[in-house]
């Protein structure tokens, strides 16, 4: 059955990217992609657009207006779906839709409601770590987190997943804070981990800094990112 030439048209590739194909077909597409650079580029585009769209309308999840609650015949506002606290890391189920939706949702929700370090996505500075793990999440009144760092993480994840070598991604925090990630090459380590290099350039109120980054994908699919400041930048 796999002997039939696969026609890697965008309809098939979008279903592949969205994990809507049965396992055998997923594998067949994956194999065919190895020999088809144009189709790989299409896959990349289909991925970044999905990541971009996923949270573009989250503003609608905040504060339902009373007139809607009245129209729906209810008094109590329901909890917004993205803002439930997750106390424990959920085991990753390969292929589950949630896998790619939840993490970004968490970062962006944290960004949107100004959480102070709510989710497990927050940067865990090694050394400086301490027992700062959040229990649930802070109320929205908490002081805003490091927006630039949060924006960096939300930009980095889709970039690592779908960005091409040499591609740059801009992000911004508060006024006067902006950053840019530029992707380097992709390689596989001797022990089989998929890694990518990148550089990060940031500017906070006129003070700029550069760091080199190395991201390697663990067996559970998550990226482990090492950031090393570049001297004299």
């Amino acid at each position: 059955m796999n002997d039939l030439p696969l026609n890697l048209d965008p309809e098939l590739l979008v279903a592949y990217v969205d994990k809507e194909l049965p396992p055998a077909q997923m594998a067949a597409v994956e194999a065919a992609l190895m020999h088809n650079g144009a189709a790989r580029e299409t896959v990349r585009q289909l991925r970044i657009s999905a990541a971009a769209a996923a949270h573009a309308y989250d503003a609608a999840l905040n504060e339902l207006p009373d007139r809607l609650l009245l129209a729906a015949g209810a008094g109590e506002p329901p909890p917004a779906p993205q803002m439930q606290p997750r106390r424990q890391m959920e085991p990753r189920r390969p292929g589950a839709r949630l896998r790619r939706l939840l993490p970004l949702a968490a970062t962006l929700a944290a960004l949107a409601i100004g959480l102070a370090g709510g989710y497990e996505l927050r940067a865990l500075g090694i050394g400086a770590a301490g027992p700062e793990r959040a229990e649930g999440y802070e109320p929205a009144a908490a002081p805003p987190a490091d927006l630039l760092a949060a924006a960096f993480e939300s930009a980095l994840l889709p970039a690592l997943d779908g960005g091409a070598e040499g591609q740059a991604f801009a992000y911004a925090g508060k006024a006067g804070e902006r950053g840019r990630v530029e992707l380097g090459g992709r390689f596989t380590t001797g022990f089989g981990a998929e890694c990518r290099e990148f550089t990060r350039s940031e500017s906070r109120n006129g003070v700029s800094s550069r760091a080199g980054g190395l991201a390697c994908r663990g067996a559970d699919g998550s990226w482990n990112v090492l950031l090393i400041p570049v001297a004299g930048s």
């Binding site: 965008p10 309809e11 279903a15 969205d18 585009q45 289909l46 999905a50 971009a52 769209a53 996923a54 573009a56 309308y57 989250d58 503003a59 609608a60 999840l61 504060e63 339902l64 207006p65 007139r67 809607l68 609650l69 129209a71 015949g73 209810a74 109590e76 329901p78 917004a80 779906p81 962006l108 960004l111 409601i113 497990e120 940067a123 929205a140 805003p144 927006l147 924006a151 993480e153 801009a170 992000y171 911004a172 925090g173 508060k174 902006r178 950053g179 500017s203 006129g206 700029s208 800094s209 550069r210 991201a215 998550s222 482990n224 990112v225 090492l226 950031l227 400041p229 570049v230 930048s233």
Partner: protein
């Protein structure tokens, strides 16, 4: 389903319906109009709802039907890009800059055809399976796939067009001292 259970589910679906309507209409005001009209229609036709099916799917369809009627009536609802930029991705903090990216995405989605936009929103924003989107829109899955593929490729193209996102001279390579104190490790899931 009892009336009370129906009401509860309807209220629980409101945030998602509002997000979907925001994507269709392009502004939160119009989204609220749409959702309000959809709730009113749903309550009036409550007896047509088939218990056992997902209420939220039924509601997505009602929102979409009302919207497409409006679109056809007024033909070419051009969404004002300035208006789209007014609705940031969150409201607690006052920074406009971090929201540029989301506003850009919304602008790029707003210029898609209504058919492509609807499918994109249901699948890539609302997170529905192709089968559910097909059922809501009454379309074959193949049509969902082709509209979705075209929408996603058009969106990617729009987002990757080179544009002047960066102010002049801000290449992040100035000579300021590094404000990073040491290496840092992050885990991204």
């Amino acid at each position: 389903m009892t009336d009370a259970a129906f009401d509860r589910e309807l209220v629980a679906a409101l945030p998602r319906l509002r997000r979907f309507a925001f994507g269709l209409a392009g502004s939160l005001d119009e989204a609220d109009d749409l959702v309000q009209a959809a709730c009113e229609r749903a309550l009036a036709r409550r007896d047509q709802y088939e218990p056992g099916t997902r209420l939220v799917s039924w509601m997505y369809r009602i929102v979409q039907t009302i919207w497409i009627d409006r679109v056809r009536r007024q033909r070419a609802v051009s969404v004002d890009p300035a208006l789209l930029a007014e609705y940031p991705g969150g409201d607690a903090v006052g920074e406009a800059e971090s929201r540029l990216a989301l506003a850009e995405v919304r602008q790029a989605i707003a210029v898609l055809s209504p058919e492509q936009r609807t499918v994109l929103l249901l699948v890539s924003v609302e997170g529905l399976a192709y089968r559910d989107a097909a059922e809501i829109l009454g379309l074959p899955i193949g049509t969902i796939m082709s509209r979705l593929a075209r929408a996603r490729l058009a969106l990617a193209k729009a987002l990757e067009e080179p544009k002047a996102r960066w102010g002049s001279g801000d290449r992040g390579s100035g000579d300021g001292a590094s404000n990073d104190r040491g290496a840092q490790v992050i885990k991204l899931r």
